[in-house]
């Protein structure tokens, strides 16, 4: 089904599923390190993949508060699952990265030379919520007055192949956050998976080039309408929602709400929610020293506002109680984030619900707070 028609940015075409394998090859030939979802240790991770067969073909996930199971569904779809704990932030904002290395000679510290290699990633299967999370982190790491060079060098080179979500998990609430399930923009190529084909929308010149020359056919109106139907169903199926009307103002006006204390009784301050959250951006920096103290690496690691030492300073700990740390986290996401970055800090991916060992569900907590404030 080779089609001689020219591809344009913005056009939607259909490819046979096996053609995705050729597309991955193309990306590899163009120097991309391909990362995507794959099954590992009975869960889903984002890792290096080589071919179409590495994707979690035929799997679905079952998710609830504090619950995640991977099931073989017996179908032939590649993207019917909802992702696991990991998100793409681990590639753009690595959990552990060396900033620079110093060596001591004659009582003076000098920077050791380093090999400067920037990874060029291709992300396969980015969901709408995850793509929105990347756009949110862009605002935190690439501000007008300060840009994180590590993030920027990775972000500028990344190739994004996104996927529309047709079967949301029980913990998803992107529809109410207006961040999904449909991928709207900011991708190179976007897939919608139908039974026999992928619909592919071209989002950028780079995406067009990667696709160019691969066999495709024009998307039929039947294909387009079944994709539309699938997306509408997905939005309607979503069981959870977060009412964002006036939410930031509500949160900032209710920092003394008794519900924070109530949540503080259940929260273990384990920091899972911040580690799985695709928008959380806090980091710490430590020195990794050799025993003879002649060499040290400045290493940046993910941090969490749930760690007791997070707010520790000479004058004492700003947030010694768990309830104050939970409030810090959620009031940042939903309260003060818009003042800093012009958007909420939550995309409704539901990871913090799924991976909370205490089954704390922010959508529920917020609706309780709103309910009580009303009565």
């Amino acid at each position: 089904m080779v089609n001689e028609q020219r591809l344009e940015v913005g056009s939607t075409i259909a490819i046979e599923k096996s053609v995705l394998d050729d597309l991955l090859k193309r990306l590899k030939e163009n120097g991309y390190q391909i990362v995507g979802p794959r099954v590992k240790n009975e869960t889903l991770v984002y890792e290096k993949i080589d071919e179409l067969n590495d994707l979690p073909h035929g799997y679905i996930t079952e998710q609830e508060a504090g619950y995640f199971r991977l099931h073989e569904a017996g179908h032939s779809r590649y993207f019917d699952f909802i992702p696991g704990a990991q998100s793409w932030k681990q590639f753009l904002f690595p959990p552990r990265v060396d900033l620079f290395k110093l060596q001591k000679t004659n009582n003076h510290w000098e920077k050791a030379s380093e090999e400067n290699q920037t990874v060029k990633y291709a992300f396969i299967g980015v969901r709408a919520c995850e793509l929105n999370a990347i756009l949110i982190q862009d605002k935190a790491f690439m501000r007008e007055d300060f840009t994180d060079p590590i993030y920027r060098s990775r972000r500028e080179r990344v190739f994004i192949l996104s996927v529309d979500c047709l079967h949301p998990a029980e913990t998803c609430f992107c529809a109410s956050m207006n961040t999904g399930p449909r991928v709207k923009d900011s991708f190179d190529l976007n897939l919608t998976e139908l039974d026999d084909v992928f619909l592919v929308k071209v989002g950028s010149e780079i995406g067009r080039n990667i696709l160019n020359g691969l066999p495709f056919e024009l998307a039929s109106s039947f294909m387009v309408s079944s994709a539309e139907r699938g997306l509408e169903n997905a939005a309607q199926q979503m069981k959870r929602e977060l009412n964002t009307d006036g939410l930031p103002e509500f949160i900032m006006a209710n920092l003394d709400h008794p519900q924070w204390q109530e949540i503080g009784q259940r929260c273990l301050s384990c920091a899972n929610c911040t580690q799985v959250c695709p928008t959380c951006f806090c980091w710490d920096v430590t020195d990794q020293v050799t025993l003879n103290n002649n060499e040290t690496r400045r290493e940046r690691v993910w941090d969490s506002c749930f760690n007791p030492g997070f707010s520790y300073q000479a004058g004492g700990n700003t947030r010694p109680s768990i309830q104050s740390r939970y409030r810090q986290w959620l009031s940042h996401k939903l309260g003060s984030w818009p003042q800093q970055y012009g958007t909420l800090g939550c995309v409704g991916c539901g990871r913090c619900i799924t991976w909370c060992p205490a089954k704390i569900d922010l959508t529920k907590e917020i609706s309780i707070m709103r309910e009580e404030a009303r009565s």
């Binding site: 900033l99 007055d145 300060f146 003394d256 103290n293 010694p320 104050s324 309260g335």
Partner: protein, 287 residues
């Protein structure tokens, strides 16, 4: 309020990579506090370095880490940069072991400054406690060098004991520049004949004209709370009260998240805040 200036790293520098500065001299101040006088190894950097009163630097000891330290020296003196450092954590205790001639990493200056321009023509009431005086000393120097531009200037300064008072040998010079220096200690001893009591409780002794006085405060957060309480009780408008806050800081660039306070990152939107910006959450506990 002076807009924060974030000094982007040099083109060739990695994130958080410092420049190097030599410890030229160390002045013992009080028990557990010394002033470190630093000079960039690169003469060009030193000549071009300038800061506003109230700003801070990140001082780095390889192998230990960085600490945010306010600059306590004269902003018009471009030969040395002074930092009064209390030895209280990992990094500052590592600094304690350094001597003149040793080299530390230095990044900065960071953060907002006391609004010296805006204060011109006004009475200034400075209320500070303990190690809250160092970030105000550059403001005092600035006032002394431009004394005619300011109205009545009062410094009400308190420390735990008379042995904990900082910069005692400079008070006469400040007084000579028509700054009303008033001292109090939390606990007196047999040699102490001055005031005994915390800073906020002495406000009643001063005639503060609420129409033209600005209050600058820095010190323990509990003291700041009560200083603000006293200032508001004297009907000083919230926009004429300026507070310098302490928070855990790792980057100085509003990026690492540690110093967050509501919509602010204290390292870039502070440390000096106009109080009306803080008021909505200042009394929220553990926020």
């Amino acid at each position: 309020m002076i807009a924060p200036t974030i000094h982007s790293a040099h083109e060739t520098h990695q994130l958080l990579e410092p420049d190097w500065a030599e410890i030229i001299d160390i002045t013992h101040e009080i028990n557990d506090v010394s002033t470190y006088w630093l000079k960039f190894n690169d003469a060009n950097l030193q000549a071009n370095y300038s800061f506003q009163p109230g700003q801070f630097n990140m001082i780095y000891v390889p192998g230990f880490g960085e600490a945010a330290i306010s600059i306590c020296s004269n902003p018009n003196d471009h030969s040395l940069i002074g930092h009064s450092i209390r030895f209280v954590g990992n990094v500052t205790n590592a600094i304690k072991n350094l001597k003149a001639g040793d080299v530390v990493g230095l990044r900065g200056p960071f953060g907002t400054a006391w609004p010296m321009k805006e204060l011109e023509g006004k009475d200034i009431f400075i209320a500070c406690g303990g190690i809250g005086l160092p970030p105000l000393r550059p403001a005092l120097y600035h006032i002394m060098q431009n004394r005619e531009k300011f109205g009545k200037v009062t410094l009400l300064y308190g420390a735990r004991t008379s042995n904990d008072l900082m910069y005692t040998d400079e008070y006469d010079a400040w007084r000579a520049a028509d700054i009303d220096v008033q001292i109090t200690v939390d606990r007196g001893d047999s040699n102490w004949t001055g005031r005994v009591g915390v800073v906020p409780m002495w406000f009643y002794q001063f005639r503060i004209d609420s129409r033209k006085t600005s209050v600058l405060t820095c010190g323990p957060e509990i003291m700041i709370r009560f200083v603000i309480f006293e200032a508001l009780a004297r009907r000083i408008p919230t926009e004429n009260i300026f507070v310098s806050l302490e928070r855990n800081m790792k980057c100085g660039q509003g990026s690492c998240g540690h110093c967050q306070l509501g919509p602010y990152f204290v390292c870039k939107d502070g440390p000096v805040f106009r109080f009306d910006a803080l008021q909505p959450f200042f009394n929220v506990e553990e926020f």
